[in-house]
Amino acid sequence: MVSLDIVRIGVRGLHLAALLAAVGTLGFVWLVAPVGLHSRLIRMGRGFAAAALALGGIWFSLQAAVIAGTADWAEWAQALPVVGLETRFGHVLIARTCLLVLVVGLSGRTRFGQVYAFIAASLALASQGLVGHAGAADQAWGLATAEALHLLAAALWLGSLPPLLLCLLVLPAHGSREACERFSPLGLAAVLIIAATALAQAWPSIGSLPGMLGTDYGHVALMKLGLFILMLVCAAWNRLVLTDRLDTVGADRARYWMTVSVAVETGLGLLVVLAAGGLGSLPPAVHSVIVWPLHWTISAGALEDDDLRRVVALAIIALGVAVMMVACGALVLRSRVVTWPLALALAGWQGPTLSLFLVAAYPTSFQLSPTGFTASAIVRGDALFATHCTTCHGAQGYGDGPGAIGMRIRPADLTAGHLWDHSDGELFWWIGHGIRGPDDSLVMPGFEHQLDPMARWSLIDAIRARNAGAAMHTGGNWTNPLPAPDIPLVCRTSTADMLSQLQGRFVRVVSGSDSVSSADVVTVRLDRATGDAVPASGCQSASADAWLAYARIAGLEPERLGGTEFLVDDHGWLRALRRTGQTPDWDDGTTLSDTVRRLRTQPITGSFGGLHVHKQ
């Protein structure tokens, strides 16, 4: 099955390459080629279009088998018309086939036929965005348009290389030079559009440096970028060095190297297209599990300490001076005897200081919890905490369990603020693989074999909820941004099934008592028992897990939660807690409106659990 997938991806890439070459060749005829070569190049363009037609048919057949999940030839044969007529992929491929048939038929000797063939081939190519990642995204028009422009620009550069090669092989020296000079502005404009549209498409798909370095999608994108840069080097050499020598003394040698360079550029272009085919078959990095490949990552944490900030500032100044000295040495050659050794000395003195910006990292450091911080996950994690963690960390997580007695390194106090300096991904790694001390011995065992991944993520939710509850209990507020635990709802006036679906509005979560409704907020009543009626306005959550989880983040025993209220902002962050009898009274509509208005002007800009969050 894996080999069939590789064949399918390869065929898709070759189909795309043939399509690019067809558009590029027909465009080259129109915009660059001398009249004497038109008929040969038109035959070449028709050949590429015919190849795209045949490869498109094979790709459709292979993709149809995947879409329909066929197990044998009979099922596959039945699936072909269904996929063709009932899926967007089928519709696009049928339309593209019609366009390519037109291209093969229209690419005649008349100017009219050439132009219409070019337009038809361009439309066939531009439709690729509709069956790729771009066409499936929200507001697909933006990405699909970017992809269409990207492909058309790629066609005018990469797709024009085979006809340019032909020019170099058959035209006299002067004609070759003219063709190259006419091609240059076209190629330059195409490169600029390719770079801009690649950025527009890549960043929403990759999202971050960890996404680039830690996913298959990011690796293929990097490979594609590397190939693109190599192509640019070839193109620059052709334009800046070789083109001017094509009809001067030594023209034969220049033409030889130009031909080799364009052939290499064409080969690199084919690899770029195959890499693009691979990208289209992989899930984007933003939806992939990131496996961080390095033992360290960059952190600006050093800048938070006053003393370290001074050390870092000195290092940056010293290294800046070193860079200037290197530049001086390059500009004033005689000074390099002094400046370069000095620069080297400065770099050797202060360079190691930059290691303050490096912190340890693990393969899971940038992974995000899949639990959604639900009440159920918190309660499940709480149960796991009781069975796996309390021996050392203690029942409350202070690091004072009976197993901690006599330990060389005391177990971490999980109620301390330091917990929030670590991402969920780091905690996930430590729970699974343990923590090593300065002498590399395990000071905390790993639980990879006792707890499955979801159990470990749930445990992290429970630890964060405990920490938040402890902060609320002792200090009267949450010290870090905390999302409202997600809970199932039954609503009379909304279609929401979960609390998270109410994002966009402020929510007042009230534990076990009726409250006055307000136009500014949706009221959600937590009930311990499932028999109570749903409020006439607002929502009810009668989940036992909801009650336990909200008691946990309030720092209260479950039986003391009744009457406690929580205010959740329009981005899902918990913003305030009000105990029974406390002021201000949120049943007073004016007071509640004032509170909502004040909180709207002070949005939370932090993150929770990871370095990449979708919430504000």
Binding site: G69, A137, D138, G142, L192, Q201, P204, S205, P284
Partner: protein, 118 residues
Amino acid sequence: MSRAFIILVWGLLCAPTLASAHAFLERAHPPAGAEIHDPPATVSLTFSEPVEPRYTSIEVQDATGKRIDTGEKSASGGGKTVSLGLPRLPPGRYRVLWHATSVDTHKTEGHYIFEVLP
């Protein structure tokens, strides 16, 4: 010309939104883990991007693993939501299994449980 090019590039950089490329379950009714009194007439799943209804399946099983849905499937919400008819469900635990094919032909699958209370 150069101004038009800058506007074009800037527009392209600003316009695209998050690429999803695989249909992830964004919302379910009844929701995952729900305990409800009123038996639902349909199971309704909303995905992160449009799916191919022909090649997107939902199945509802009772606690014994027997399929109990009516098989009547419909799509709405611009192809993002697929609903499946249910008979009158007696109290018990039910498992929803789904396989989705997004319009860019990528496949995803998953399952979850809900409970109808007496």
